[in-house]
Each structure stands twice: as C-alpha cells, then as structure tokens.
Symmetry: none
Subunit: 129 residues, 4 copies
Amino acid sequence: MFIKIDLQSEIPIYTQLQNRIIEGIVSGDLKAGEPLPSVRTMASDLGVNMHTVNKAYNFLKQDGFIQIHRQKGVVINPDGMPEVTSEYLGKFKQEIRPIIAEALCRGMKEEDFSTFCQEVFNNLQEKRG
Amino acid sequence: MFIKIDLQSEIPIYTQLQNRIIEGIVSGDLKAGEPLPSVRTMASDLGVNMHTVNKAYNFLKQDGFIQIHRQKGVVINPDGMPEVTSEYLGKFKQEIRPIIAEALCRGMKEEDFSTFCQEVFNNLQEKRG
Amino acid sequence: MFIKIDLQSEIPIYTQLQNRIIEGIVSGDLKAGEPLPSVRTMASDLGVNMHTVNKAYNFLKQDGFIQIHRQKGVVINPDGMPEVTSEYLGKFKQEIRPIIAEALCRGMKEEDFSTFCQEVFNNLQEKRG
Amino acid sequence: MFIKIDLQSEIPIYTQLQNRIIEGIVSGDLKAGEPLPSVRTMASDLGVNMHTVNKAYNFLKQDGFIQIHRQKGVVINPDGMPEVTSEYLGKFKQEIRPIIAEALCRGMKEEDFSTFCQEVFNNLQEKRG
DNA sequence: GTGGTCTAGACCACT
DNA sequence: GTGGTCTAGACCACG
C-alpha cells in the first residue's frame, strides 16, 4: 500500500490522507481488521507532521472507517464499513451538487457524466478483481 | 433570482456564491447576456463584503462564465458557456473521485449512485421546463 | 479607416483609441494634415462616450500626434510626427522592460524575440507598400 | 535581493512587484526552488499591505513562476519556468504592438529598436554572467 | 508562523 | 455609478 501525497495541492494533507485510505479500502488494498501504520510511522513515511496524520485518523475513526486502540494501534474497522445513512446522503448530495451544476453548465450530457463516473468507479475498483 | 448564502458554512462565501450563480445559469434563472448585480449591490443584498463578491465574480470571469465590463458591470457570458475541456475534465475527475470512493466504501451500489445523481440533475434543471 | 474597439478589454477605451490612431498613421491610412472625425462623430461611430474620445484626442494632441483646432476640427499633425526624445526613450524602455523580462524568463531566445517583433513591424506597415 | 517599488507610479503596486520578481529570476538573483519572503514579511519590507503582496504572488503562481505551499511559504517554481505558449505569444504581441507602433510613428528605425531592446536585454541579464 | 478568508472603509479611473 | 486598487486589522485552518 503506497500512499502518495501532493504537498503542493490546495487540498489539506490530512484530507488527502483520508481519501487515500478510503480508496485503499475500496480497492481492496486495505482489508477489514488489517492494521494501519502508527501515527508516527505514517508521518515519517509521508514526511509530514504527526498532528496531520493524527487528524486524518481521528476523522476516519469518527466516521467509522477505522478503529484506534491504545495498545493494538490502528486497524481498518473489523466490524465493517459505515452505512449509507441519511445524514451521509445529505452530505453526498451537497458535495456533488456544484460538480454536477458546473458539468451541466459546460454542456456535459448526462450520459457523458455517467461514462466519466463509470471510469472513476472502475479505476477505484480495478485492483479488486 | 434569490441567492442564499450560508454564512456559517465552512465553504468560503465566495465559493458558495460561484456555485449559486452557476446553478442559476443551469436552472435558466440567469440567461446569456443578462446582467448580474454590481459587486456592491450583490454584497449588500447578501450582507457580505464587496471584496468577497468581487473574488467570486473574478473567478467566474476567469473560467468564462461571466464577463466583467469595466464600467458597464457584470453579465452572464453572452458568447456562451465554457466547454468541457481536457483541463476541466481533469479537475472534474479529481473532485468526484473521493466522493465516489466514500460512496463505494459505504456500500452504495452504482445504480443507487446514478439514481441520486439523477435526482440532483433534475433538481438543478427543474425550472428549465 | 475602420477603428475597432474591444469593449470587453481591460485596456481603457481611450487608450485603445489612441493606439488605433497611431497605428493608422503608421500604416499610412492616416496622412499628415488629414482630418479626423469630430469628437461627436467618432464617439457615435464607436458607440462610446464623447468624454472618452475627447480624452484620447487630448493625449494625442499633448504628445504631438494631432492638432485640435476650434473651427477646423481635428487633423493629423501636418508639421510631422513627434521625435524620439530622451524623455520618450525613457518611457519606451520602462514599458518594454517587463515584456522582455517575462520573455527571457520563459526562455524566449533573443533571436525569436527579434523575429516576433519583426512580424509586428511588418504587420503594422503592411498597408504602406 | 532588494526590491524597490514606486508608490507614486500609476502602475499598480502588485504589478510592479510581479515585474520585479520576474526580473529577479531573469537576473539570477532568484533561483529555482529558492524561497520568497512570506506575504507579511514582503509587505512590511515594501511598506505596503499584505493583500497587495498576496495579489502579486497569486498572479505569479497562476502563471507558473512561483509555487505557494500552504504553510511552508512561497518558492520560485523548482520545476522550471513556464514556456512560451501560443497563449502567451498572443499576449506578448498584443502588449508590444502599441509600443512598436508609437516607435515607428516617431520615426525610430528598426535597427535602433533592436539596439534599444539589446540594451534592455543586457541590463536584465547583467548579473547573470 | 504560514497563507486563506473576510470586513469596513477609502480613493481613483473610466464612462 | 461601475469596477480596480489599496489599507488596516481580524480570525481561522494548517502544519
């Protein structure tokens, strides 16, 4: 599991890290119950601040993607992933709305939108097969 | 055309304003060539600072959604909207990727994803008739 | 002599008008002693404000490109064009310096710079032949 | 690297600052990867407002001359300078055209034009040797 | 300590 | 009256 962070991106590093871990779970690289590097290790691997990794881990824990045990360390939630709650669905639509709006504004057809999303879907799951 | 901004949101006001204007174009509320309120008027309407509106307008101008005439004011680009360029497509996929990743992670089916997007599509275009 | 103004440009209209007139002189479209449309006529031709045309004419007069007579109207200076004074040369270098700096920074070779300038020279004088 | 701004000039301060920085890169005073003072430091050095410096930095970032790292600060683009794109070339010719037009109008010979440009070239690169 | 965002209020160029 | 520029001063997210 290689994690690559773009230090020049406008996206906060901790957000990038969260995304990479979620993508790792989706791709199958990270399986339920599997351990994640400690905050310290991850930070030194990525060359970022410990606080940054800590923040990412805490958000992921809060959403139920991982568990943090004082002794055992950090593991992908062995009880399974969080569900599609109505709360999440609200966030989902709020996030995707401006993206769809701009796409429509630029004349992207709904079919093309589906095609592009399909590509992303496949790309994320490609290692799963 | 009523524009509503959430001053408490963590999303920058100028970003919200950009999104609202793009949504206005998509819904048909704002038509090509139509004028937008001056920075000062819009600012006072929204209860925010002039510079915040200015920033939103300048980003929209940069992307080709609006034109800013030195003394005549601001209008929706009468020459039509920007296209789906390869550059835009890159941004599009980068933005939608983490959203799809989390959706997959939470077990959302691709069909459900399409359905939810469909809802957003319809919601954005509903006034178009 | 057709004059085309870009109302959406960031360059002030009066500056554009000055430039177009100077280009007209260079190309031979406007000859020494030849009359220019009155402020009123020019303004209505271009669809701009009288004050704007007035401003352009006054600057051109100040630099010695045109003469403004109360009765006879506006004419290209029949006594010839202003010279390359040391004052002008200072302005010239100040204006061209940042252009050359950016060109150098982007790796433009001095030969290429000359070639591009040559093109502009020819383009400006092409009607002269 | 001393940067001098003319607060009385009609050229916006942020534009002057952009030009000075580009000239610094050309002269070799500022090398790829080298850090630039923080917006606040630069602002206090120049005796101008933080936002003015910020605007200059953002334009330079947009054009690819510098990189802005969220918390690490500002550096000259270590990946090299932007190229001579066709878009840039358009801007270049548009900017240089009125300068050449006036020079021609005043009777400057093309050879003299070359000589004067040569001087500016040498002046900009003099520290490079 | 860094840049990002926002405010309040000012003057200027342009039309 | 419009946008463009600038100031002074504030709070926040990030690392």
